[in-house]
């Protein structure tokens, strides 16, 4: 069956070719500079594939918006939606203007190992990769920048001043995230280690950046009013829409098929298929195991925590989805499923109030998944990734993974601490007690998210 399918596809391609050839003969001007070759077709396929992948990653913005809205209260729903809308818009402008140049521009030696420059505003010098047009590569990269930026809004939900969040969004997309990208995907010092650091689609470079910035943000802000009882014990503040949260988690799952397979940056059948398979297995293992973990711990299969497990599995498998085996993906997803539950308990107890579990999902599972590449990598590709400890590759890759994870965590935490502290000291970070209790929707944005048509 697969053979006949293959023949059919070949026929379809051949028909396309002759139609294109016909078109070309009738328009000689075009025929002169465009020759139909296997490379030209592959190049077009690469561009189409990566652009579609970029759109899927941008769709993840909708997923984040719904997860965060669902797991917070109705009185703040307009505010959280607005934050998710504007961190993409402000972040994309910042990344276009300076972020992309810092991440990918200029030489890779000297200071260029740590921070790039060149191709500002996507100008002449702007970098691109392989067969991709720079516009396509930029669209894919800006979608990733937006993912890192939007992770933070959930952890800081229900108490952050809107204008302060806008300022944060600008700086993470303009400077903090691009510097981390520079270190690895931009050809910087992590990529130049003797055994290069390996983070295929960004467990550390994207997710942990958002996760650690979220941790610092939630720490500088302090917990929501009512989160801790007089005895200091954490209390649950229920989200207002589990359907939103689960729909959001499923949209994120769909988006991840752009995030991970798209990160191959070319339309190569076997590789993008393997990556998609590992992505699926990591996600489902994370969800199943987190459900079992919370069920054993509290007696009930908590819905929101199971969604966190799905996302934790996805985040964890993102670093290794190119290098690991399918069984490795199941194991990494499963461990993330346990980790995310205990991590949520841990941060609750040390008074980091993270309403959606962003620190646990993106920071903790992202770091774990990246380190796990050093254990579970089954591939040896020079200059890309070595076999992990469990596959007889020794500890070289593991050490590089730990260096990368620790360096990114340290840089992001320090940078985010400076950023949030400066915002706190100047325009303020937190809304007034009165506004927090009334809800941010009316005070910050002028109208409630729900219930505008009230009779009394």
């Amino acid at each position: 069956m697969s053979r006949s399918l293959f023949t059919k596809r070949r026929l379809a391609v051949a028909t396309g070719f002759s139609a294109a050839a016909l078109l070309l003969t009738s328009t000689p001007a075009l025929a002169q500079d465009t020759e139909i070759t296997a490379e030209a077709v592959q190049g077009t396929l690469d561009n189409v594939f990566v652009l579609i992948a970029a759109v899927l990653v941008i769709f993840m913005q909708a997923g984040f918006a719904l997860v965060e809205a669902g797991l917070t209260r109705a009185k703040n729903v307009a505010n959280i939606m607005m934050k998710n809308l504007m961190d993409f818009c402000v972040g994309a402008l910042a990344f276009f203007a300076v972020g992309y140049a810092i991440a990918f521009g200029g030489a890779f030696d000297g200071v260029g190992k740590f921070i790039g420059g060149g191709g500002w505003f996507l100008g002449e010098e702007a970098f691109t990769y392989g067969t991709l047009d720079k516009t396509v590569f930029f669209t894919f990269q800006v979608a990733f920048a937006a993912t890192a930026a939007t992770i933070v809004s959930g952890a800081m939900a229900e108490r952050t001043k809107f204008k302060s969040y806008i300022v944060y969004s600008f700086f993470i997309s303009a400077i903090i995230y691009p510097i981390v990208v520079r270190w690895q995907w931009g050809g910087g010092w992590l990529f130049q280690l003797d055994t290069p650091f390996h983070d295929f689609a960004g467990s550390t470079i994207v997710h942990s950046v958002g996760g650690w910035a979220a941790l610092v943000g939630a720490f500088v802000l302090g917990p929501r009013i009512g989160k801790y009882g007089p005895d200091g014990k954490p209390r649950a503040i229920l989200g207002h829409s589990i359907p939103f949260a689960i729909l959001g988690a499923l949209i994120l799952l769909i988006g991840w098929y752009g995030f991970n397979p798209g990160s191959w940056l070319a339309a190569d059948g076997p590789v993008i298929g393997e990556v998609a398979l590992n992505t699926t297995l990591g996600a489902v293992a994370g969800a199943v195991v987190s459900m079992i973990t919370i069920w054993l711990k509290t007696g009930k299969p908590d819905v929101a925590m199971t969604a966190n497990g799905l996302l934790g599995g996805l985040v964890a498998v993102t670093a290794g989805c190119y290098a690991i085996s399918p069984i490795g993906a199941v194991i990494i997803g499963a461990i993330a499923g346990v980790l995310v539950v205990f991590s949520v308990f841990f941060f609750d107890r040390i008074k980091i109030d993270d309403p959606v579990g962003a620190v646990s999902v993106h920071g903790v599972c992202g770091s774990f998944g990246t380190i796990a590449v050093g254990l579970f990598s089954a591939k040896e590709v020079d200059g890309v990734v070595q076999k992990g400890l469990f596959w007889g590759g020794g500890a070289d890759q593991l050490i590089s993974q730990i260096i990368g994870v620790v360096a990114v965590a340290a840089f992001v935490m320090v940078a985010a601490f400076v950023l949030f502290s400066v915002i706190k000291a100047t325009i303020g970070l937190r809304v007034t007690e009165e506004e927090e209790i009334a809800g941010l929707d009316v005070e910050e944005h002028g109208a409630p998210g729900y219930g505008i048509e009230q009779t009394v």
């Binding site: 014990k233 954490p234 229920l238």
Partner: protein, 112 residues
């Protein structure tokens, strides 16, 4: 005329409504309410953190009936809404001094 007020478990509303109709009650007002009794609510978990459900959802039924019907109406409610478990609710009776039907201006038992 008496106002009979009952607080019952939400899932008993259909049985209770049927029993009240059978007992001859012409109309009832049902309201979704929340409250607690001697047990004082219970504990649940959300994302692993405990929270106290202090006010439990109930349904409040209000109906004005003729004095002669009071006993049979109370019997209908206690018969239909009882489960024998904690939280079945209560019924109480309050005298009504005046009753007016807004549409016609009828008063007293004619307005029931």
């Amino acid at each position: 005329m008496q106002l009979i007020t009952a607080i019952i478990k939400p899932y008993k509303i259909d049985d209770t409504k049927a029993a009240l109709k059978a007992a001859g009650v012409a109309g009832i007002t049902a309201t979704e309410v929340k409250g607690f009794g001697r047990q004082g609510g219970h504990t649940e978990t959300y994302r692993g953190a405990e929270y106290q459900v202090e006010f439990i959802p109930k349904i409040q039924l209000d109906m004005v009936v003729d004095d002669a019907m009071v006993d049979s109406v109370i019997q209908a409610i206690t018969g239909a809404a009882a489960t024998g478990k904690i939280g079945d609710g209560k019924v109480w009776v309050t005298p009504v001094s005046r009753l007016v039907r807004i549409r016609t201006g009828e008063e007293g038992t004619d307005a029931i």
